[in-house]
């Protein structure tokens, strides 16, 4: 049975997924959930594929009402989550009954939260992804009254002991800090900055309010390019750190233009891009140098943690009869006595 929900207070929310991986070859940024770990976790906690469409909520309060019984999970930045007025846990599946309102308020510590719904939500697709692209004007715009359809409804799961969370799946939640450390590897053009490249690792940078999904602008001591030769435009990776102006450091995120002509000083690791996604204006960031093999190892360790979560969730859901596989409650009773 399908389900649906209605947006009551959109705040700053979009329907997105892990990104438009076929985009860059056509000149479109990858986009997609900025905090990929939190987005994957939300989908896994609701029994979806990692890349299923889900809601990304940035900074502002958000409310939606379930019109059918649904199962959701909220991950990402710490906030005050209530369902039908009851306080609920983030990073756990939460059963929502038809007519109940889900409210996300007072996001603190981080900047982005994710709401996944079991059975996902329907959204238009461009080049294999529903991720909004602000430059080409693609994406589902959420306003008050927008109805989102989900492919599955989940009957309420009853918790006999009032006020206790339904699930305790034991995922190690990411830390959210106003003084985060961001790991980077040397960029392909690091030599162009000479000795000033070291400033990146000895400076406390402040996140500017002009930061967005395209890139974070950081104030602080700036490494300076030693030559002024013009660079031919070339593809730049997500996470590229550039010094395009004399004012700020620019750290490109998933909405970045795929080509640029500025030298790449350093590149933020996949794991630390999630940290940047949660950095609020005014927060302080410091950079630490790592290597590509170490960065890859950390990324894979995070993925293994998500795989463990997936296997726990699938066991629990199978027992409760949620998802595609029949659970014990759907099995025919044994015949005879």
């Amino acid at each position: 049975m399908s389900g649906s929900l209605i947006i009551q207070q959109p705040g700053n929310s979009v329907v997105t997924d892990l990104g438009r991986f076929r985009g860059p070859r056509f000149g479109l940024p990858v986009n997609g959930a900025l905090d990929q770990f939190s987005a994957r976790a939300a989908n896994i906690l609701t029994g979806n594929d990692d890349g299923a469409p889900l809601l990304e909520i940035t900074a502002l309060d958000f409310r939606m009402r379930a019109t059918t019984d649904i199962l959701i999970a909220v991950t990402g930045a710490p906030l005050h989550l209530t369902v039908g007025g009851r306080e609920c846990q983030q990073w756990e599946p939460v059963s929502v009954r038809a007519g109940e309102t889900v409210a996300l308020r007072r996001m603190t510590g981080g900047l982005r939260a994710y709401v996944a719904v079991h059975g996902s939500v329907e959204a238009p697709v461009l080049l294999g992804s529903c991720a909004p692209d602000t430059v080409v004007g693609f994406g589902l715009r959420l306003t008050e009254g927008t109805e989102l359809k989900t492919s599955r409804s989940v009957a309420p799961i009853r918790q006999p002991y009032f006020d206790l969370p339904l699930f305790r799946l034991g995922l190690t939640r990411p830390e959210f800090s106003s003084q985060a450390v961001v790991e980077v590897t040397d960029g392909p053009d690091v030599d162009e900055f000479g000795d000033t490249a070291e400033l990146l690792f000895t400076t406390d940078y402040t996140v500017s309010g002009r930061s967005n999904h395209i890139g974070l602008r950081l104030g602080g001591a700036l490494p300076e390019r030693q030559s002024s030769a013009e660079v031919l435009s070339r593809g730049v990776p997500v996470g590229a750190i550039e010094v395009p102006s004399r004012e700020e450091l620019l750290v490109l995120h998933r909405g970045r233009g795929v080509t640029a002509g500025y030298p790449v000083l350093a590149v933020v690791t996949s794991r630390s891009l999630d940290v940047l996604a949660q950095a609020r204006p005014g927060h302080t960031l410091t950079f630490r140098k790592t290597t590509v093999p170490d960065a890859t190892a950390k990324h894979r360790a995070a993925l293994r943690e998500l795989e463990n979560l997936r296997s726990t969730v699938s066991t629990v859901f199978a027992l409760l009869g949620i998802g595609s596989r029949p659970g014990w409650s759907q099995l025919a009773p044994a015949a005879g006595t």
Binding site: P24, R25, F26, G27, L28, L126, S245, V258, S270, V292
Partner: protein, 241 residues
């Protein structure tokens, strides 16, 4: 132009844990361009697990991959294998199409025209004349939104990028920087010098692909007057032949 018959050597650089930059390093820009585009096509066609795709530009190629599935080391080996496999002889010669682009130069349409003229130490008319003088090969699709990136007009010296990039440049902006020229298909921030604007619609977000040209196609600019801008409103950029 005679097509090169062998790929030029390439260097491969780390670009974080999820990308590599491949740079063709011969002194011949034409051979470098052919090499990185042929390599990009090979990588797309071969389709290794975990490789998202390749972004070829002038002399370089960004190869993006999923570090959870593959690694920089494996993708580097894949790229080097591609270099042994690509062969320009026998590559299908796709007929280049040509696009004609009307442009209003200067004033509110091209706020940096005078700056460029001053920097080149040429009269404004001469800058326009050089910009419309030749047919440009579209070298690659860039940011924003599949911009046609071209070798620039034959200006005496390279054009510096703006010291502080604009927060928004309108769709249709015709710009130059360094030794390059471009049209912006969609509004976006930009650090290039905007010398004019075309009234044509370049980007069709409802179509796939979103832009009508591919690398290798030709593009020519022609000057129109500000009074004619509105006459073209809503018309799409289409190949002339």
């Amino acid at each position: 132009m005679p097509a090169p018959t062998t790929p030029t050597p390439v260097d491969v650089y780390e670009s974080g844990d999820a990308a590599l930059r491949v740079v063709a390093s011969s002194p011949d820009p034409e051979a470098n361009w052919s090499t990185v585009h042929a390599l990009a096509a090979w990588l797309e066609a071969a389709g290794a697990d975990g490789v998202h795709g390749a972004v070829p530009t002038y002399d370089s190629l960004l190869v993006e991959f999923d570090p959870g599935v593959t690694s920089a080391r494996q993708v580097r080996a894949f790229v080097l294998l591609g270099m042994q496999q690509i062969d320009f002889i026998g590559a299908p010669a796709r007929a280049a199409r040509e696009f004609s682009v009307p442009v209003v130069y200067g004033g509110e349409y091209g706020p940096d025209l005078e700056r460029v003229a001053e920097q080149q130490q040429l009269p404004v008319e001469e800058i326009i004349a050089l910009h419309i003088a030749k047919s440009y090969v579209i070298r690659c699709l860039g940011a924003p939104a599949g911009s046609p990136m071209m070798d620039g007009p034959d200006f005496p010296v390279p054009v510096p990028r703006l010291k502080d990039p604009r927060l928004s440049v309108p769709a249709g902006a015709v710009a130059v920087a360094g030794r390059q020229a471009v049209i912006a298909p969609a509004a976006a921030p930009g650090g290039w010098c905007v010398i004019g604007q075309t009234p044509l619609t370049v980007l069709d977000a409802a179509a796939e692909p979103l832009v009508p040209y591919v690398p290798g196609d030709l593009l020519r600019f022609r000057q129109i007057h500000a009074g004619e801008f509105a006459d073209y409103a809503g018309r799409k950029l289409e190949a002339a032949r």
